[in-house]
């Protein structure tokens, strides 16, 4: 079968002829269907700025990883910016998130300091983790970031526990648990959705379905057609949204977060997306289709989708958008300079912070 004719054909698909586009569009909500009443200019600016910051952060991470200046592994979030930006726009520093191995985007959108993040992935002492965590472990608890997480699915429990704490403290705070399509097949996903539901926890599970868990397609690995429909097993709402459409994500996430804040319990949101790059940098990505519907979906740029939306709706002008883009480039370049100038961690620090005193 030619690649452009490739069909999604897991044995469990209700219709074995489902095409990639049909898979993307299955029950999906987009901004044409959603009404955004409180999408203010201020909110639009901050969300767009986050998307630009994420994109520029990732392009620089890619560049300096390729140059051998960033050690280890990096898993880039480019292409998925609308999800972190649209969801975190509803959160304050006191609301926690848990992130994934592909975590730079969530950390930027949740207010992680660009300098501290960049220094961290360069392995320098001014990094958020003093250079001892790296790309997969960026965290800033004061900003409500319970950490990127190198264990796929590792965030479910942390998020559920943080939500249990919020419920016990009756503090009106919510937790957002970001996770990928691969993580939805981990046992912890099921255990935590079940617990969140029986205890009616203030938590929103935000799935980022980029269709590939490493090199394995979601349509192969998941018995259910969508991840959102798994919510039914745990008696919570499950919504599928176009994850490249910031306005749709913002809207759907806002509703779910509001429900959680009001004590109405958890929601599962599946954001359909795609990653611009490989699982990690260095991945040859031979599993991705080079033409056809999948390629067309890959080429939808969430930043452009939002730019067009804001211009069409008179929220921002092209000039304003360009200014944000240029400022973001400068800010991220400054973060790279900060990282490069930051010293390596002292050798003494090898032994520090294993235990709290």
């Amino acid at each position: 079968m030619a690649k452009e004719e490739r069909k999604a054909m897991p044995k469990s698909m209700k219709n074995p002829e489902t095409s990639f586009k049909e898979l993307v569009d299955l029950d999906v909500k987009t901004s044409t269907e959603t009404k955004v009443e409180d999408l203010t200019k201020e909110k639009s600016i901050s969300m767009y700025k986050n998307m630009e910051n994420i994109r520029n952060f990732e392009e620089n991470a890619k560049r300096f990883f390729a140059a051998g200046e960033i050690p280890g592994f990096v898993h880039l979030y480019a292409g998925e910016e609308a999800i972190a930006s649209g969801v975190c726009a509803h959160l304050s520093d006191d609301d926690f998130i848990t992130s994934t191995h592909r975590g730079h985007g969530h950390c930027v959108a949740k207010g992680g300091d660009l300098n501290g993040m960049m220094a961290e992935i360069f392995g320098r002492s001014d990094g958020l983790g003093k250079g001892k965590g790296g790309s997969m472990h960026i965290a800033d608890i004061d900003k409500g970031i319970l950490g990127a997480n190198g264990m796929v699915g590792g965030g479910f429990g942390l998020a559920t526990g943080a939500a249990m704490r919020n419920q016990y403290k009756k503090n009106g705070k919510v937790v957002v648990c970001f996770f990928g399509d691969g993580a939805s097949n981990e046992g912890l996903f099921h255990e935590c959705l079940n617990m969140a539901s029986i205890w009616n926890l203030p938590i929103v599970f935000v799935n980022e379905n980029n269709f590939y868990a490493e090199a394995t397609p979601q349509w192969y690995a998941s018995a259910s057609n969508t991840i959102a429909e798994r919510a039914a097993a745990y008696d919570m709402p499950g919504v599928r949204v176009n994850g490249k459409d910031l306005v749709a994500v913002y809207d759907i996430a806002g509703e779910a977060i509001e429900r959680a804040r009001n004590g109405e319990g958890p929601t599962l949101i599946e954001c359909v997306t795609y990653r611009n790059y490989g699982h990690f940098e260095g991945d040859g990505q031979s599993y991705k289709a080079q033409s056809g519907e999948e390629k067309e979906w890959a080429e939808v740029d969430p930043l452009n989708v939002f730019r067009e939306y804001t211009i069409e709706n008179g929220i921002m002008t092209e000039k304003e958008l360009d200014e944000i883009r240029e400022q973001s480039k400068k800010d991220v370049e400054a973060a790279v300079s900060f990282a490069k100038e930051s010293p390596e961690p002292s050798l003494d620090s090898l032994y520090e912070d294993v235990f709290a005193d």
């Binding site: 958020l128 429990g157 559920t160 249990m164 912890l188």
Partner: protein
């Protein structure tokens, strides 16, 4: 005031006092109250099991289901959740019913709790005490009888305590709960019905300090958990042959008290370690390694590690008894460093 109490009641009293002192202390686990959502129990504000061994009995009626949380059978789910609770300011005490169930839940300890503070550059605290139960001796067979405290102890970022007496059980538990770090508190199921003096008041025993349970001059025996009583029996029996044995109850397996053991070995020149764990890469072998490195010149013979065999725990009562190290086994297997001491 101080009176004789059961080991299990000492733990219950410790939990009660920790919960009374700090409203952030939350217990969670499977059937630690039992009977959640059962109308006749709810009406009467009663728990059912109070833990599979009854250790947490009475705490739910006193503190409510918000603080004594019965979880679904989801070890990975609630153990990982406990890490999230701890990282966000609570002081959870999850109960992993049997330490053998850790396979389901290990990421909570291995992947998350033990590493978060380090990975986050010192910006996280994980004040979490995992209560769990180890040990053979009740014919519970291979999946409910293992002794895995040494496995936890091999992970940086984890403290591990194994009490042997009711007094130590309460004091170490209160220290563990006060710790701003992950502590695995491992209870030997055969000790629950043992008795000993326990003060009524709140008190702590420092983590990392061994306790010399019997003073001696000729031979040092280091024990973990219920192996204390094997060590004490060996000491009694050797006393008849005029061999004076020092018995050190390790109490904390990680970080274990090197100073106390080294000081004792410097005095006696001979060391036996009794550990119910399987024999390879366990606490006994770690102690042997450290002592042979740091006190070699004081040793008058090889260090003897008396452990369980390298097998799962068998079911048949006669096989299980043969599995657990006892005084006869110690005296036989360590005879080459004992026989010349006898007179």
């Amino acid at each position: 005031m101080s009176k004789d109490k059961l080991f299990m009641n000492a733990i219950n009293e410790g939990l009660d006092q920790a919960m009374e002192k700090d409203e952030n202390v939350i217990l969670l686990g499977e059937d630690i109250a039992g009977g959640a959502d059962v109308p006749h129990l709810e009406e009467a504000n009663e728990d059912s099991w109070g833990g599979v061994m009854g250790i947490t009995s009475g705490l739910m009626p006193k503190y409510g289901r918000e603080r004594v949380v019965d979880t679904p059978l989801s070890e990975m789910g609630y153990m990982s959740s406990a890490v999230g609770m701890a990282a966000t300011g609570l002081r959870p005490v999850p109960e992993l019913m049997f330490n053998d169930f850790i396979g389901f839940a290990f990421d909570a300890i291995l992947g998350q709790a033990s590493k978060m503070r380090y990975m986050f550059g010192g910006k996280a605290k994980i004040p979490m005490t995992v209560r769990t139960m180890h040990g053979a001796g009740v014919n519970a067979a291979a999946q409910h009888s293992g002794s895995y405290y040494g496995m936890f102890a091999s992970i940086p970022g984890v403290k591990v305590v194994v009490p042997a007496t009711p007094y130590d059980a309460k004091g170490l538990l209160l220290s563990a709960i006060e710790e701003d770090n992950l502590v695995v508190y491992s209870e030997d199921k055969t000790l629950y019905s043992t008795k000993g003096e326990v003060p009524d008041d709140y008190y702590t025993i420092p983590i990392g300090e061994a306790d010399v349970k019997r003073k001696g001059e000729h031979l040092t025996i280091v024990t973990i958990g219920k192996m204390l009583f094997v060590g004490l029996e060996v000491a009694e029996r050797l006393e008849k042959d005029n061999v004076s044995v020092e018995v050190i109850d390790l109490r904390t397996v990680a970080p274990w008290d090197k100073d106390t053991v080294i000081e004792s070995v410097k005095k006696t020149g001979r060391l036996i370690v009794i550990d119910e764990a399987n024999p390879h890469n366990n606490t006994a072998t770690d102690i042997a390694s450290v002592i042979s490195d740091r006190a070699f010149d004081f040793l008058d013979g090889p260090i003897k590690c008396i452990c369980a065999p390298n097998t799962p725990v068998p079911f048949a009562p006669n096989l299980e008894q043969a599995y657990i190290p006892d005084a006869d086994k110690v005296l036989k297997e360590a005879d080459d460093i004992i026989f010349d001491l006898k007179s």
